[in-house]
Symmetry: C2
Subunit: 641 residues, 2 copies
């Protein structure tokens, strides 16, 4: 990543020829970073942006709404602002939009006003509905979806004007380089004439996917999918307002093939039919959710024109029917980082027949589109702070940004966090202990308010962290002797016992049960499993911190992501050393960031471009290639003092 | 059309940034047309091309073969030529391809050598197989098909090189901006590993449609379709050599819906199911022919990666399933001039699953893709002569070029040429009289060497022309009296008789038949029908000639096209006034030019771009809009004196 948070946008402008080359800039000299400060009134906000960015975009990125109906394409002439401090050259359109006096007073169209020096800018109040939504981790997204609807009233053809129907439509929407699907072309002559040449064009990116009679421009929807290995979440979005209409989730129907990506990849290697079946199961999961959210939101599925999908590299390969085997064996290679040209129908979805699918690009076989989506939602590429992003799971993805460079890696944490390989482990379902506090007694929080049946990942982390805190586990991860136990935690000491030869700590003994083996407990081996898992993760971020020469204490924020990470107690995560030893407020549960990123991609083409730009900006560090991995790993096994 | 025959190519270069802007040209000043003369040795040919064109293209367009394996993309460094007169600046690649001495001696790579002044150029003999084919009316086409195959040997991935499979392939083919179909992406990981990373990429334009194990680069085919209202022709082309492998034709299965486009359009207006059935019938016709040519050529249909289709606007709409009604009623509007993004599967073809379809663009509802294809095949846009192109049929398309501007129009000739509305009229099938000579006797040439059963269009034209020549028809189109008949043609006079009240000329009286009504004859009303038909056509070209202020005697070539036009006797066409009164050698039967154009589009992307450019260059003149049409039409009814 360069030191410009919006460098990808600047490059996009350069490619589009919208930005004057640096050497022709007319503003005063700047510091080496080529940034300018823009003070917006009446909001009073000052933002620092790369030199040359338009005032419209600078405002948009920072959640300052400037009037616009064309989305900053230089066609609507609504984005009027007044430059009250500093100067901006007059553009070709300014001359048409303003009087000479107004131009002298600093009035400009924001979308053509390039900031080449520090400026004070006065933004008039909106006269059109604000078009922004808050998504992700405090991200304000100006609505500029790939899906657009344009209502047009066309002139009827005459012998003197025999333009083809499609040309007539293109001429009316001349700010886009449209390209018609065959489906849209088939409908056009009929719809045009039925609707007296008053129609709404349905556009995704610059593809004309349909035409509808009359004005349907407010009816446009999209579905964001978070295709997890375990859980799949669908959010139906109203693109006209940027708001979610319905959200549903369900278990991935691929579950019978194994709980994690490796078992599913293995299935395809063993059985030639497995790939086809896994593909179908993933598609059925998506289809069922799509039907569900449309029903819940009372939205006709044919009005859903786009879907976005964030999934790890294996889930993405499987749902597309691509052999995942190379992802599962060294050297861990993806078929592609960024599948393009996918339609919703290719994912088995029955939405609008021309609906497009936007799949998040992946950084590597084990840092997939779900992580890129999460990085987008958390603004990993836009924040100047030192931030660590950890998606905890069987495979743990770690991203580190020092506000300038971004590194990512994947650490094989194993199944401990999913409850696998843990004696009383279970998924985070009804009956799972998810929070544990040790004091005079054991206080348990159980999912579903039922009798505890086992321990899920967050309960495991809490349990081990609490046992270390009260001194029943030493820092090497070994249960203490009965003598020491009585001394350090007399109220809990009798729970420290044996199942067979193995030392265990009983968390819950059901009524009438006398045998420890029949209770819910945490064993010495469970602790070892967790130590291995957390050591893998902390080795990952330690190596990334080393790589960027950042001291762990300088990390300003740790984002715990993923369905598991979001439930983890920050204090326990610190205590077992899963995250660096930091003030607890710096550890933030980020929620389902993959799903949030998918929503952002649907709401904003610019954010989507940001996700694509991450492929260039983020350097992937392969851990299995590191000579120092094993040494570091052993160092990380103990719990912090 | 501009006065630059290759202007579209120049524009393409400008867009690609391959051409320096005129003001930076370093050559000496030129005349206003901005052209340069290039003398090629040893061929001794001098060609005049627009300033700035590369020597490679200038040579290619003029059938002078320069060595190249990359097709002029600046990658193979094989297109070495020596500038022996004049100078060409040294390009960035020249420095790598030649020694300093060679550069001083004028050696350059032709594909990067822009001609900015008159030059003498020495072209070394070919060391690779010549890559050109002769198609159309004497057109030499340098092979640069949209379909490319590239054999590559990729490095196996390692932990130090985890590039995704697709990226690895893209990096190996970095002269193209490839974009992969989902099908290709699905195959890639498997094929790569099966074939030890030695694979052939199948590319259409810049779409990667498949990957094949090993080197299959010589196996690539395409099918050119001429989708006529009556007859459909398919040509299977070997794209590696540019040669046709098999040709088959059959009647369009839509025949039961009517013989011409109007009856088929009417069918869709009357019956809501007709469009779907017509679409299916057209697709079945294409599919049957595709199977046929593949079988005849012993080519696996999965090796056919592209098809080109030339058809009139109605046939094109029907095969795509687009409602043709607006084509059939004023103001005669097409849904689109140029359908894009069509796949062979959309046409009902089972070829390679990703095979693309390139449909010829149309100039108007009645000057369709078949005519644009014909214009390409006859070089209407490249020839500096005054040329008239006439596709004779129920709807007659006329194109006039004065070597600078091109006009087109459509004339409603009616069904006479198809044998419709003619008493003894019939299709050009077995038993149809196709040639008639009158002398001491009537000499007939009959299709299929069977007893004459009727008269097809060319027989009708011959018959009327001969009757005018021998004086049995006067110039107003009226049969002469028996008295005059005996005087002017005593040997034939007794054939002039009556059927009912109508005057007829008996062409053939079967053995034992005594009644004229049971013979094959030509009636007064038939003559009138032909007069109406030919007057519609000659009014068309007369109006076009007027429009360009060209005297009919200055027309240097008349191309008679279409399945009917090609069989017409030039002398008879002149005699009845179907074409201007010109030396007979100037009237050329051009053959199935629509099919030839489709072949050219498959063999050369540049030719295909030429067809697209015709949409901008050709002005369509609508006859039904002309106040002077009726007057001119009446003037044209008589036969020339």
């Amino acid at each position: 990543m360069s030191d410009e948070p919006y460098e990808f946008a600047v490059d996009a402008f350069r490619r589009e020829g919208l930005l004057e080359p640096a050497e022709t800039g007319t503003g005063p000299a700047h510091d080496g970073t080529g940034r300018v400060d823009l003070s917006f009134s009446p909001s009073g906000r000052t933002v620092r942006v790369p030199q040359g960015v338009t005032l419209f975009d600078a405002a948009s990125w920072n959640g300052i709404a400037i009037d616009s109906t064309c989305g900053g394409h230089g066609t609507c002439k609504k984005c009027k602002i007044q430059v009250v401090d500093g100067t901006v050259p007059v553009s070709r359109l300014d001359v048409r939009a303003f009087s000479a006096d107004q131009l002298k007073d600093g009035w400009r169209l924001a979308c053509l006003a390039h900031a080449t020096q520090d400026l004070g800018v006065d933004v008039p109040p909106l006269t059109t509905r604000p078009k922004a939504a808050t998504v992700g981790v405090g991200r304000q997204v100006i609505l500029r979806p790939a899906v657009q609807k344009r209502y047009v009233e066309l002139d009827e053809p005459t012998l003197a004007d025999q333009r083809p129907d499609l040309q007539r439509l293109y001429d009316a929407i001349d700010d886009l380089e449209l390209r018609a699907d065959l489906h849209a072309l088939r409908r056009l002559p009929t719809v045009l004439r039925q609707a007296d040449y008053k129609i709404t064009a349905v556009i995704v990116d610059e593809d004309l996917i349909d035409v509808e009679p009359g004005d349907t421009s407010e009816q446009r929807y999209a579905i964001a999918f978070d295709l997890g290995t375990t859980t799949v979440v669908a959010t139906l979005l109203d693109l006209a307002t940027g708001t979610p209409v319905a959200v549903q989730s369900m278990l991935n129907k691929q579950q019978p093939f194994g709980g994690d990506v490796i078992t599913r990849i293995s299935a395809t290697m063993m059985d030639p039919d497995a790939l086809g079946r896994l593909r179908l199961l993933a598609q059925e999961t998506l289809a069922e959710l799509a039907v569900g959210v449309c029903a819940e939101g009372e939205v006709d599925a044919a009005l859903v024109y786009e879907v976005a999908l964030a999934g790890n590299a294996t889930m993405t390969a499987l749902v597309l029917g691509i052999d995942p085997e190379p992802l599962g064996v060294a050297p861990f290679v993806m078929s592609t980082a960024a599948p393009t040209d996918v339609r919703a129908a290719d994912l088995g979805l029955s939405l609008h027949p021309g609906a497009r699918a936007s799949l998040f690009p992946a950084l590597g076989a084990y840092v997939g589109g779900d992580i890129v989506s999460g990085m987008l939602a958390t603004g990993m590429d836009r924040d100047k702070r030192v931030r660590l992003f950890i998606d905890v799971g069987t495979n743990c993805e770690i991203v580190l940004s020092d506000g300038d460079r971004i590194l990512s890696t994947a650490a094989p944490a194993g199944p401990a966090f999913e409850g696998g390989a843990i004696r009383c482990g279970m998924r985070a379902a009804d009956g799972a202990i998810e929070v544990i506090k040790l004091g005079e007694d054991v206080v348990l929080q159980v999912i579903g308010e039922v009798e505890p049946q086992g321990l899920c990942g967050s309960g495991l982390v809490d349990g081990v962290a609490e046992l270390v805190r009260v001194g029943l586990l030493d820092h090497s991860g070994r249960f203490v002797s009965d003598e020491i136990a009585k001394e350090v935690a007399p109220a809990l000491a009798d729970r420290l016992t044996y199942v067979g030869e193995e030392r265990v700590f009983v968390l819950h003994r059901p009524r009438g049960v006398t045998e420890a083996a029949e209770s819910v407990y945490l064993s010495q081996r469970d602790v070892r499993e967790l130590q291995f898992a957390k050591a893998a993760i902390s080795t990952g971020w330690t190596l990334l911190l080393d790589e960027l020469e950042v001291d762990p204490r300088d990390v300003q924020q740790v984002l715990l992501a993923g369905s598991f990470g979001s439930y983890l107690s920050p204090a326990s995560a610190i205590r077992i050393g899963l995250v660096p030893k930091l003030p607890v407020l710096r550890i933030v549960s980020a929620g389902n960031v993959a799903g949030e990123g998918a929503k952002m991609a649907l709401l904003s083409l610019r954010e989507r471009a940001g996700a694509a730009a991450l492929l260039e900006e983020v350097r992937y560090v392969e851990l299995s290639d590191r000579a120092d991995f094993n040494d570091k790993f052993v160092d990380q096994l103990a719990f912090p003092g």
